[in-house]
């Protein structure tokens, strides 16, 4: 939607299409208010950075639309004053909790493990960044696009280093990926300009594209569980197969009364959907009228042996899928080895194919 509005704003003067902008803006504001506000600031920044954009391309209509955009945002915020108060509170709580979580997660980072093959899935972004960086030096690219590219490249760098320092902030998700999407506008242009630099340029462009294809194919982004591919950190790994789907539905029928569950985040969210009518909360964990589900792997919640034992002692029920155990940043590496002994000391409620439900830990 953001790309569409940007396109509508930057296109040539076309009366038929300019009428679409208010509709698209309304959809953006009602769709995601926070994104709408950030988008507004981004466009404002572009306007300040490049006066040509304001004067030549968009003239008065743009200013009117921009004012209209902010009036709508303000109206929505006034209509939902409680929401405004809540959102400020949430923002503050979110920032503070993110930093606390990030510190906690950095401390427990050694327990989680990301194989080197996960780098494969980021190589396309490396290509996007490298090509966009090169496009900064091509004089035929308009200055406003170069400014946008420079700002976005800085955002990608910031996201990368913030993620390295405090992984819990998930800066790559919130800053890095949106920035990479914007960079994908300059990527084709960069490739095109490179391919015009004689035979060497053409070879370079071709090799880059082949590298991207190879990285995509062998990262296993759409081929989960393939032994020949790398293991992506999230993506499609640890999916619920058909037989597990049937088992989870059956287990869901057995869950009666107030129950606390710990499981991998895929199973947890699917259970939440199965109990959609009674849902109270669904984000970090899932809460329904009767169920409280702690999702391993959700927002840095990594389940270690000690944590699992504590939870089982508190009366949590463990729903364990074999594939869920392999999900990166869900369970610690050592847990898989110690799990047999751990389960031995509990009451096994259900023992299906590649799936176990257990509770009541008893010290041996």
């Amino acid at each position: 939607m953001v790309m569409m509005i940007l396109y509508l704003l930057l296109m040539r003067d076309d009366k038929r299409r300019i009428t679409l902008i208010p509709v698209a803006l309304l959809a953006l504001i009602f769709g995601h208010l926070a994104v709408a506000i950030i988008f507004g600031f981004l466009v404002g920044l572009l306007m300040i950075l490049n006066s040509k954009l304001l004067i030549n391309k968009l003239n008065k209509k743009f200013i009117i639309l921009y004012i209209f955009f902010f009036i709508i945002i303000i109206v929505v915020l006034f209509v939902e004053m409680t929401y405004l108060k809540k959102s400020v509170e949430m923002l503050w709580r979110g920032i503070t909790s993110l930093i606390i979580e990030a510190n906690a997660r950095t401390a427990s980072e050694e327990q989680s493990f990301q194989p080197i093959s996960t780098v494969l899935s980021y190589i396309p972004i490396s290509v996007i960044v490298a090509t966009s960086f090169v496009s900064l030096f091509i004089s035929t690219i308009p200055s406003w696009l170069r400014t946008l590219t420079a700002i976005t490249l800085v955002s990608v760098g910031m996201a990368f280093f913030a993620e390295q320092a405090l992984p819990g902030i998930t800066a790559v998700r919130y800053i890095g990926y949106p920035a990479a999407v914007i960079l994908s506008i300059t990527l084709p242009l960069g490739l095109h300009k490179l391919s015009k630099r004689g035979r060497l340029g053409s070879i370079c462009t071709t090799v880059l594209i082949i590298v991207v294809i190879l990285a995509f194919v062998f990262s296993g982004s759409l081929t989960p569980g393939n032994p020949l591919t790398g293991v992506p950190s999230f993506g499609v790994y640890g999916l619920i197969a058909y037989d597990e789907n049937v088992q989870i539905k059956m287990i869901n029928q057995l869950l009666t009364g107030k129950i606390q569950i710990v499981t991998d985040w895929r199973t947890g969210l699917f259970l939440g959907y199965l109990n959609a009518l009674d849902l109270k909360r669904m984000s970090y964990g899932v809460e329904t009228e009767n169920l409280t589900i702690a999702n391993a792997g959700a927002y840095g919640f990594i389940v270690s042996e000690e944590r699992l034992v504590t939870m089982l002692k508190r009366g949590y029920v463990l729903i364990l899928r074999d594939k869920g155990l392999d999900m990166i940043e869900s369970f610690t590496r050592d847990l898989k080895i110690k799990l047999k002994n751990l389960i031995h000391n509990t009451n096994i409620i259900y023992n299906g194919e590649k799936m176990v439900v257990t509770s009541n830990y008893i010290e041996s």
Partner: protein, 251 residues
């Protein structure tokens, strides 16, 4: 500009050499994977900067002697679906055949002869066929937000009332996305999960078309159309279309 380019080139060379020392001496918090990624980026950047030094010449393009026709598009989509699904049924996961075919098909989509729109259609058919096979075997891969959206949609369908929705997220004043799934589910007779999946396919088809049919300045991006689709926390597929830039006369 050339001076700036030379300075950047030197900085990058120094960066390639210094970063491993930064990692080994633990001067800055840098994981091994992070170091590998940044080194790869800098290594990609080095030849690109050398190429940028050269003057502009006539565009040199490379194409395979394989034309992308309607039959090829349909066949490739069906073949990848059959291969992936058969491997998943027999082995429980996709294996060598799927990978090989995926590589060959993407290679043809990028370097085969044909109209831009045919190349886009082939890429959509390949990715669409693969996703169809995955969704046929696994529960669709959603993140927390998407499961919440489909759950809200399920609530609206069962209770028949928008007011009865029990979970609201403050970021979305009006849950438009669940409403969209609800409308789709009611009109098509699918569950919200499948309405979501169909929306994903529609997005897959519409986004490249949107890029392809751009007019005005942004139309230059059509020279090599790149599509990045986003899944849970990471990009899932990246597709580039390699060809010469032609301005469309009409849309």
């Amino acid at each position: 500009m050339k001076k700036l380019l030379i300075i950047n080139f030197l900085i990058i060379i120094v960066g390639i050499l210094i970063l491993p020392i930064v990692y080994l001496k633990n001067i800055f918090t840098l994981s091994f994977n992070g170091l590998v990624l940044i080194e790869i980026t800098l290594l990609i950047l080095t030849p690109l900067l050398i190429v940028t030094f050269r003057d502009e010449k006539e565009i040199t393009t490379f194409f395979l002697n394989f034309s992308i026709t309607k039959i090829v598009i349909i066949l490739f989509g069906i073949i990848i679906f059959i291969i992936a699904y058969t491997e998943m049924i027999i082995l429980g996961y996709t294996y060598f055949l799927t990978l090989s075919f995926l590589f060959v098909a993407l290679f043809i989509a990028l370097f085969g002869r044909g109209k831009h729109v045919a190349k886009i259609a082939l890429a959509i058919a390949i990715v669409g066929g693969l996703i169809s096979a995955l969704y046929g075997f696994y529960v669709p891969t959603f993140g927390a937000d998407t499961w919440r959206d489909v759950s809200i949609s399920k609530q609206i369908i069962i209770t028949g009332s928008f007011e009865s929705v029990s979970i609201r997220h403050p970021a979305y004043p009006i849950p438009l996305v669940p409403l969209l799934y609800t409308v789709m589910s009611l009109s098509l007779g699918f569950s919200p999960v499948w309405s979501n999946s169909i929306s994903g396919f529609a997005y897959l088809v519409l986004l490249p078309l949107f890029i392809y049919y751009q007019r005005g300045w942004l139309a230059v991006t059509r020279s090599h159309t790149i599509l990045v689709c986003w899944r849970w926390l990471r990009p899932s597929y990246l597709y580039g279309q390699y060809g010469s830039y032609r301005r469309r006369t009409r849309c």
